[in-house]
């Protein structure tokens, strides 16, 4: 299941706080789509350290969309691949 959070109207560190709070409660098979105005470079390192994988794609309504799931969650990764290739 995909959960969408829009952090594009927040000033730093709001987007990162919201993103980290959201990913902390991810259930198995789920992923989060973060709608962002900028590419959040510092977020990537923290996500990796906390056991998450991510992909960044150009957004439709916002400049970037970051898809995040728990590392090793094959179902979530497959869902992310599917949504990117759609």
């Amino acid at each position: 299941m995909e959960h969408v959070i829009d952090v594009s109207g927040l000033e730093p560190p709001g987007p990162m706080e919201e993103s980290l709070t959201a990913v902390a409660s991810l259930a198995e098979g789920d992923h989060i789509r973060v709608l962002h105005r900028r590419e959040p470079f510092p977020l990537y390192g923290i996500l990796e350290s906390r056991g998450f994988d991510h992909r960044t794609v150009p957004g439709t309504g916002t400049s970037f969309e970051i898809l995040v799931w728990r590392a090793g969650d094959a179902a979530a990764e497959a869902a992310v691949n599917q949504t990117i290739n759609r």
């Binding site: 730093p12 990537y44 923290i46 350290s49 994988d53 960044t56 990117i84």
Partner: protein, 454 residues
Amino acid sequence: MESRRCRCRGGRQPNHQPLIPANADLHFDRMPPLWVPLRAFLIAPFLGLGGGLLLASAGDAAFSSRWTASLLASAHLITLGFITLVMIGAVIQVLPVVTGVPVPASNWVAPASQFGVALGVIAMAWGLNGGLPVAGRVGAVLLAAGLSLFVPAALIAAWKTRHNPTGRAMGLSILSLIAVAGLGVFLLAGHAGWVPLRRDLTDIHAAWALGGWVGLLVMGVSFQVVPLFQVTPSYPRVVEKYLPAVGFLALLAWTAGRLGRWALVANIGIVSLALSLGTYAAVTLWLQTQRRRKLRDITTDAWRLGMGCLGLVGLATIAATFGVLDLLEPRTSLTFGILLVMGFAVSVVQGMLYKIVPFLSWLHLQNVATHRGVVGQVKVKNMRQLLPVKGPRRQFASHLVAIGALLIAAWFGGFWVRIAGLAVAVDFGLLGIEVVGVVRRYREDEARILSAPQ
């Protein structure tokens, strides 16, 4: 349907083009430690404070012309000691955060260059103000050494981010810094008696310092930090793409015109520079009216003040070029310098510090909590807790008082110069207290996180 391009940290997507180069990944391990920029941010306000105290001790004599030794020493403590030191720290730490590309060897380049610039400017101010040639010579050597470490590293980082408007503007500003440093060392050598003192190069040195190094760097950094921290729309693409280059070429044309005594070329150059900086100021002010969150914010106020002053300086430059204003008249030239240095550059840098210092502290606290394995168990201080709003408001009010006092001193002289010097010292002193406060709260929170049970 064609797939969207993606940048991956998870599984493999070999058919997808990366959004940014793969080696541009940002990891905390690749970011310089927090102390690398913080050291500069902590020292810089106190060098500015020194500039204010020096002015206060010199009194009326300092403002008798723009050439007085005490005014030159005080101005350099502010422009080099405060503005340049913070800018070096900002380039080294902010560039990786906003573009994902670190400055090479920043762990030792940053402290070494900051050490050289900080000690160099103190020695230089001592040499200029005390008439002690040996101190001036030591200062020149230390400054040249410090900057020659920073410049190549920053140029490499700027080259790697040349496809980014911030990287391009930064590259041009660092090229300007080479001109500033070269001319500055030559002028210092003149003061030390090693070569004939060429006062005619002073304007060129100052223009490259404030229009090129500071102006273009602020422009480039603002393409990222204004939309990011002030939640405005992005700068128009044409502004990002062409304005820094126009400013740089205008400076080149003006310099060639001045050195070659080609008045028309010089006039076209200086008017183009004024127009490019003025356009940038106007666009920034317009973007600020488009903020998504209309909450009052000290950084936005400081940037408004800075952009307003930059616009005035641009208008004054054009007026002077067309003979409407005499910038050689001492009071007018002092007013021009005060608006440019304290009104524009210092305001913008102070406003930037109020975002960068608590943000980087918060970011590093997140990293500490992650590595300690206590995420979710320990609540990390937020930015408002790291930097409560009251102190910066009080400091910004003192900054306005300092600018007002300096302008009065420029026109009325007398005891006003001492008062203005003290006001400048209070302005920077309060800023220093705020930065120290963030660092103190950071250390408290870091200790709390590290002592939390895993």
